[in-house]
């Protein structure tokens, strides 16, 4: 019987996973070195502080605080794990958004704008369809305003979620159309549509009636969706991880990742998208409608970023700061490192998203418990992305090492296999 390990190593997928893991390790190493240098240079931190910092970066979600003696304690921290899953939800979806665009050869740097479009649509729908007996209806009643129609809670949720996706899709389709019809660089078009979205969303909320006037401390914020009684069901996850913000949204994100995986890998449409990605004009020559596919790919990418916004705001955990014309949501940009770390594989995006979110939690713990701050985890992410830029090189190195090891027992190369290998290499080089 053949040893399964070498054949597993031979697979391109395995090499991608290995390359990603190596990137992660080097990224963590870079973070560790920074912690060490800063610790050594600062008298107040000392070696104990350095050791604490390194442990929190690696085991952030299992940190439970400090004991009476002042040393770190570790254990099951349901709050941190739950918040990790909650924060992973939008990042997984923006990661998917970037990944599916990458598959079509497009760099979707427009996820922040699509996220904002989704935010606006979701909040407008969720707060404009009154739910019977909600705080909002009662407050308006106290102001002498009665609503003629009210809706069941779940109808509003579904409408707001789908609305968010649709708005994101429209916003994503704009750079797609510009690229397909006028051949405008999608990076520039996305940057422009991002800022246009930031200004339009600010404008829309500025003139809206959704600004929080009930709570005096919340000036500049929109109502939470729970004001209208709308929130994503917890599905018992809050019982499992008490004290955290987790809800059913993470399951929807995972479901969407599986759907994207099926679309890309198991359908003709997905094959056409990938064909456009590897060579747009070659695909056109083969009878694939490249223009239509570029627009559709960007629209799907946009809808995923919109879904990220929908799930985040429909959680009812946070309120939206509407005066956002000067900044773009970081979660949109964070989709880029997530997609890159996952080598644009939809299922890999789930793990990459959870990993990024774990680093975020570790960053918060670093700020709370040590002299370091959360930006060290951002440095780690940046290093990982930097390495992702030449993941192809890492993969080739991995391949080379394997070949050398196998050179002795298997000197005869099957010409057919070599041909396929070469074809694969050419494809990889085209990407």
């Amino acid at each position: 019987m053949k040893n399964p390990l070498p054949s597993l190593l031979k697979k391109d997928g395995t090499r991608s996973v290995l390359a990603s893991l190596i990137s992660v390790l080097i990224g963590l190493l870079a973070g560790g070195i920074m912690i060490l240098i800063v610790g050594a240079a600062t008298a107040t931190i000392g070696m104990k502080g350095v050791w604490d910092g390194i442990r929190i970066v690696l085991l952030g979600i299992f940190t439970t605080g400090r004991d009476a003696a002042g040393s770190l304690t570790f254990g099951f921290n349901p709050n941190a794990i739950g918040n990790m899953l909650f924060n992973a939800t939008p990042v997984i979806l923006t990661g998917l958004s970037v990944a599916i665009a990458f598959k079509t050869g497009l760099f979707n740097i427009g996820a922040p704008g699509q996220y904002l479009a989704g935010t606006a649509a979701t909040l407008f729908i969720a707060l404009s369809m009154p739910v019977e007996g909600s705080e909002m209806v009662k407050w308006y009643a106290s102001q002498g305003v009665e609503f003629a129609v009210t809706f069941p809670q779940w109808v509003v949720w579904v409408a707001a979620f789908l609305g968010g996706m649709a708005a994101g899709a429209v916003w994503g389709a704009i750079p797609g159309l510009l690229k397909a019809l006028l051949n405008i660089n999608e990076v520039i078009a996305c940057i422009m549509t991002n800022w246009i979205a930031a200004n339009l969303v600010t404008w829309a909320f500025e003139v809206s009636k959704l600004k929080n006037v009930v709570e005096g401390t919340k000036t500049g914020y929109i109502y939470k969706t729970t004001f209208n009684g709308v929130a994503t069901p917890k599905l018992g996850l809050d019982k499992l991880l008490p004290g955290s913000q987790v809800n059913g949204g993470i399951l929807i994100a995972i479901l969407l990742a599986v759907v994207v995986f099926i679309i890309i890998n198991k359908t003709t449409f997905g094959y056409e998208l990938k064909a456009c990605g590897s060579n747009r004009y070659g695909a056109r020559y083969a009878g694939i409608k490249d223009r239509r596919n570029i627009v559709l790919s960007m629209a799907i990418a946009g809808s995923l970023a919109g879904a990220a916004a929908s799930l985040y705001w429909l959680s009812g955990n946070t309120e939206f700061f509407w005066n956002t014309y000067q900044s773009l949501p970081a979660v949109g940009f964070n989709g880029i490192p997530v997609a890159l770390l996952a080598s644009n594989h939809p299922i890999g995006v789930i793990f990459a998203g959870v990993f990024m979110s774990m680093l975020d939690i570790a960053g918060l713990q670093l700020t709370n418990l040590t002299a370091y701050n959360e930006y060290i985890t951002d440095v780690i992410i940046a290093v990982i992305v930097y390495l992702a830029a030449f993941s192809l090189l890492i993969k080739t190195l991995l391949k080379g090492r394997r070949k050398k090891q196998e050179a002795v027992p298997q000197p005869v190369v099957d010409p057919e296999e070599a041909k396929i290998e070469l074809q694969k290499e050419m494809e990889a080089a085209d990407q």
Binding site: N185, M192, E206, Y325, N373, Y375, D378
Partner: protein
Amino acid sequence: MSFLIRQTLIYAIPLMIVALAGVFAERSGIINLALEGIMIFGAFIGVLFVRLVQQWGWFEAAYKAKDILGLQSFVFLAMLAAGVLGALFSMLLAFAAINLKADQTIGGTALNLLAPALVLFLIRLIANQNTLQMAKGDSASWFMLKESMFGYGVGRGVNKTPSMGFLGQVFVNKVFPITYVCILIFVVLAIILYKTKFGLRLRSCGENPQAADSLGINVMRMRYIGVGISGALAGMGGFVYAMTTANCSSDGTVAGFGFLALAVMIFGNWKPLNIAGAALLFGMFKCIAASYTSLDINGDGVYLLKNLGINTNLYRLLPYLITLVVLAFTSKSSRAPKAEGVPYDKGAR
């Protein structure tokens, strides 16, 4: 009117010089998406330089004596530091893109992520807050030219000397002289790129590196130089931005100016003169959006733009919208360097 022109220049000059940074990289064949990150890094270095030198007390005497030349050379040194470190930072991109033949878009994105993370990490350690400021005073009192320095508009009542005329108001009063240094650098580098042997060689590497190589040009070296100049310009642009619009402070962001510069570069069709025009147009709209309510264009006391009753948000999004529309109309004639984004492989034909 003088206010509009002055303010437009303040917005336009960082854009212009950073867009030229993009040109140098792309003309040599490397897409520099990291302009934003390098700007952030340059802004941080420049502000840190000013802060440290202030703490050492080196230019204290010059400040007390109101020595214009001394203070301006101080700020010039800070800009130089930002440029040198910006060039050094951009070597990360150059190494990945040239030696490792990495994906340049992703490499640039990595630098865009790295710069704010690194900068904020250091700022938090240095200042124990999220903004790094000057050690004392503000940018206006230290580095800005004022008409009173030249004896205009001084004193009170009948003894007050006359104000500067129109040209003085536009080009001298309330102006940071480093912006003129930037214009000078812009002009000199544009000439170098188009009128010298070196410029021709650099551009050939962005069009047809194989042909350039066959003629004895060291493509890799040229690309390193292109990215290095690009990094230096972006670093300086970042510092100028921090100096003129952020009161010489650094907080890990340049409000998307690096990306805007990228758009200005494409808008300007990779040509310096067009870029200068595009940057001025952009700067004017930025200025109008920021101050249209108090803008008196022809000096008759009527706030024309305010009276039009158009929403602020429309003014704010106009520059982006106009860029998209102009790109839509000019995309057919737009011509990027042919070999940009393609790693140079000696063996390829």
